[in-house]
């Protein structure tokens, strides 16, 4: 059986997928993020507060990973405030 050749004039984009991070990458990312946050705020943090910060960043990264698993199109726009800005009211 033969098939017609595909229409060469149509160039479909590749299916880009947000690459998942493995456990080691996540741990490294979290450690770096804690270090960056501590750069600005660290001098005020007690060990307990720094532990809370670390836990919150781990949760934040986990949530970001969940968001990265939801496929989006380029045209998917954000759900910001619905009213038109600068509408003269």
């Amino acid at each position: 059986m033969t098939t017609e050749p595909a229409d060469k004039s149509v160039s479909l984009p590749p299916e880009w997928v947000y690459p998942p991070l493995d456990a080691a990458q996540i741990a490294t990312t979290n450690a770096q993020l804690v270090a960056v946050a501590a750069l600005r705020h660290g001098d005020r943090l007690t060990p307990s507060q720094r532990a809370d910060l670390t836990a919150a960043i781990e949760t934040q990264t986990r949530h970001a990973e969940a968001l990265h698993r939801v496929p989006l199109r380029n045209s998917d726009e954000p759900a910001f405030i619905r009213a038109t800005l600068g509408d003269g009211r």
Binding site: L33, V36, A37, R40, H41, R44, L45, T46, S48, Q49, R50, A51, D52, L53, A55, A56, I57, T59, Q60, R62, H63, A64, A66, L67, H68, R69, V70, L72, D76, E77, P78, A79, F80, I81, R82, A83, L85, D87, R89
Partner: protein, 471 residues
């Protein structure tokens, strides 16, 4: 009508008593001020009593009524305002020690609208500090202390509209205004056994209220019945140039409208009882049996989205941004909750593209949810999976189950659609359980009518906490 009956009366019942001269507005104001002083303060539901404002507004309402002016169903009715909303002549503390002396010269639009409707401000009511937006891990997260539940003072009201929930449930105000960013009206309404309405995003102006999250914040009524919520919403809804997210569409609840009593189309969220306490499930199923008498009942799947990740990411980014200077200057350490100082700083390294990604996913969720909700008058689920948790318990002990695995509440939060919670029975320890009715955007009247119909078939909303002193 004796004082205790007045304290637990609905808004139409109080209005009838006022119009028949059974009681005056000044007498009502004094009654509720006394109950706030006695019960409200003991429960940590009160931040500031406003007797001067109350007695002045009540005397004016009495004089207007005697002169033939009727401002409508709220005329002469006392109320309490969550203390993140500004009122002239009283501090607006946001529940937080660093802001306990904060006074705004200009009152909030909601406060002004209620005064225009003749309502009488008797108190600024407790809130979890910064409306809970700086992270907290147990109920002791306000300079006023944890707010106790009138049904069991060893239990919590939930938050962040803790004071409004406790005060309404205790018969210390007929209604209150709460705020909701991710469940702060719905959860306290469920834990305290009252009715709480989160109207469509933009329905109520937030001008003069503390900002936690621009794209999520809503103000709304907390009251004894769904009907009361509708009457209050009608008074505070409407466009406002000071809040450009406010809707232009007018809202009418009582004026020129006949309430529906049947022919409803309901849908239960599939799996909404997974993991909930047995009494919560039992009461929910009993409610469904009653709702089947006034409508059809389908089962539907909630659209599959990472609800927890979405709400957490959006709240973190917006709450941090809204309080940027306070955080940068080290203000978090001055809050009551020890969790705030470290945990909220995580948002300082939250990438902008992840926040925007959450908002893009939210847009798709809104399209899917609106399509689903538009086919029904109300989507149904338990308001919370548990009854009120301990006043001193860390949340790990209660909230994971409370959030549920099928979070209809979060779908309503993220899509800006209306939801009401009403009491539907009692569970472990004689504590209230709730059922939520979620509608499509702008469809407040459908869920209010359905909830009112269920309240017409039950008397749960008529029960009073036994531990309170009569009178």
């Amino acid at each position: 009508m004796i004082a205790a009956d007045l304290a637990f009366a609905t808004i139409p019942e109080l209005g009838a008593a006022l119009r028949s001269n059974t009681v005056s507005s000044v007498e009502l104001a004094r009654l509720f001020l006394e109950r706030l002083e006695r019960d409200g303060r003991r429960l940590n539901a009160v931040v500031t009593l406003t007797p001067e404002i109350a007695l002045r507004e009540a005397a004016l309402a009495d004089a207007e009524r005697q002169g033939g002016l009727d401002r409508g169903p709220l005329h002469g009715i006392p109320y309490g305002m969550k203390d993140i909303v500004a009122a002239a002549g009283a501090p607006t503390t946001w529940g937080a020690a660093p802001f306990r002396d904060q006074v705004f010269a200009q009152e909030a639009t909601a406060t002004r609208k209620l005064r225009d409707a003749g309502a009488v401000l008797v108190a600024k009511l407790a809130t979890v500090e910064i409306a809970g937006g700086m992270a907290y891990k147990n109920p002791n997260a306000a300079f006023t202390g944890p707010t106790a539940n009138p049904w069991d003072e060893g239990r919590w009201t939930s938050g962040s509209s803790s004071g409004p929930g406790a005060a309404v449930a205790a018969g210390a105000v007929p209604f209150a205004i709460g705020s909701d960013t991710s469940g702060s009206i719905l959860y306290p309404a469920a834990f305290t056994g009252i009715s709480g309405l989160r109207a469509t995003y933009g329905r109520v102006s937030r001008a003069g209220a503390m900002t936690l999250c621009w794209t999520l914040d809503r103000l709304g009524p907390m009251a004894r019945t769904a009907e009361d919520c509708g009457l209050v919403l009608e008074a505070i809804a409407g466009p406002d140039p000071a809040d450009h997210a406010s809707l232009r569409e007018p809202y009418r609840y009582a004026v020129g409208r006949t309430r529906r009593e049947g022919g409803f189309r309901f849908a239960v969220i599939d799996g909404c009882c997974e993991g909930v306490e047995p009494e919560v499930q039992r009461n929910f199923e009993a409610s469904l049996a009653l709702l089947e008498q006034i409508g059809t009942l389908d089962t539907v799947e909630l659209p599959d989205f990472p609800y927890g990740a979405l709400i957490s990411t959006i709240v973190a980014a917006e709450a941090y941004a809204a309080h940027d200077e306070f955080i940068a200057a080290g203000g978090l350490a001055s809050l009551t909750s020890p969790l705030s100082a470290g945990a909220r700083l995580a948002a300082s390294v939250l990438p902008a593209h992840d926040y925007i990604r959450a908002q893009r996913i939210r847009h798709r969720l809104a399209q899917a949810f609106t399509s689903l909700a538009g086919g029904y008058d109300a989507l149904l689920a338990p308001s919370l999976g548990v009854v009120a948790t301990g006043l001193h318990d860390d949340f790990e002990l209660g909230l994971p189950r409370a959030m549920g695995r099928r979070p209809l509440n979060l779908a309503g939060v993220l899509t800006g659609s209306p939801t009401i919670s009403i009491i539907n029975g009692f569970g472990e320890g004689g504590l209230p359980t709730g059922i939520q009715f979620a509608g499509a955007p702008f469809a407040e009247n459908a869920i209010l009518d359905a909830a009112t119909a269920l309240q017409g078939m039950t008397d749960w909303h008529r029960r009073r906490p036994a531990g309170l002193v009569p009178g």
